[in-house]
Amino acid sequence: MYKLVKDIDGNIKSVKRLYDNAFIPFDPANTDYQAYLKWLEEGNEPLPADEEK
């Protein structure tokens, strides 16, 4: 399971992999991001990002 993460400007540019709390950036060359895209293709959806304080 993944959760979207907002950056300092409020944009969503990464996800948090919840089983190990790893932050995965939206970089096509990142192998964890490639795995996330496959997970999406299987019909899964990430949890929404937290609202900014």
Binding site: V5, D7, I8, D9, S14, K16, R17, D20, N21, A22, F23, I24, P25, F26, D27, A29, N30, T31, D32, Y33, D50, E52, K53
Partner: protein, 374 residues
Amino acid sequence: MPIILDGTAGITTPMYGGSIAANAVTPVTGFKNRLINGAMVINQRAGGTVTINSAAWTYVTDRFCFLGQSTDGVFTAQQSSTAPAGFNNSLLVTVTTADASIGASQIYTLRHTIEGYNVADLNWGTSDAKAVTLSFWVRSSVTGTFSGCFNNEGTASYPFTYAISSANTWEQKTITVAGPTSGTWGTTNSNGIRLTWSLGVGSTYSGTASAWNYSTEYFAASSTTNLISTNGATFYITGVQLEVGSTATSFDYRPYGTELALCQRYFCKTFDYATAPANNGGNNGMLMCGTISSGNYEPNAMWRFPVEMRADPTVTLYNPGTGTTGQWTSGGGTTSSNARIGSGGTGGIVIDNTDTTLTGSSNWRIQAAAFAEL
């Protein structure tokens, strides 16, 4: 070495009793080894003996990773100080639960992936593809014909075999491969060449040895020895080198700091070298900062990576002390709840926090590790 220039004899080197040509040695050039950490010296993850019991790639010594299965066979992997002459380390595999009947699609392997930038000059996938030679030292308690494979990220595969003829004895193996004239081979920061050593591969992923095929993804040669089938079996490997040409030459020793920096392009951490990344792993190397108040107080630290990483890395955060894992901790023992990567790239990241209740009077601390392996 003295050199004599003589109008009759030409150029001679009397100390060695012959001509320049006769005394010539193979020139030593830097970076002839396209692999990184082939001597298994760098071990940033410092994980000790790692159990491989899942189908997830697991790194042990830097740049070398293992794939196992979630059921059936289990093995451990660790950096070892058992090594052949000229080396100080190796990578050791020990089978702890044998799989004597490997399923057709099951894969137990050791893998090293070379980044495209480091093999772009080989022209693989073209009519100008260059030959390469793989050499390595291996020692196993099991004898037989073992195998491995060259791959791209698609279906280009070249299974190879090598014989281990004497149990528990170091042997150097050499495999020369003609460059593939087909297939897509990465030449930038993606996969260039994948090298696999089979510890046990099922029939679906095993193919004909010593020939390129461009239609099936293989990781081993058919009908070869499977280490995973023998409980207690051991397998050591070191001195792994891939070089251009058809001859294996001496191992390309690089300075320790250079080899470490090469590894850090793919994995680095704030922790001391010998400390395994973990929560409650101590303060050495940690990032520490006060807080920035913008309505609420929050820690905000910059981590500049030791070298430019291959890609924007996956980052895992660690609490240096006790308390909630992956969170900032204060000198007073308070932990945050919402540490995050506020911004990042291949050069570094900003770690901040989105709590609303932190105070501004503490020194906030955090550790991190960055992963950009292939």
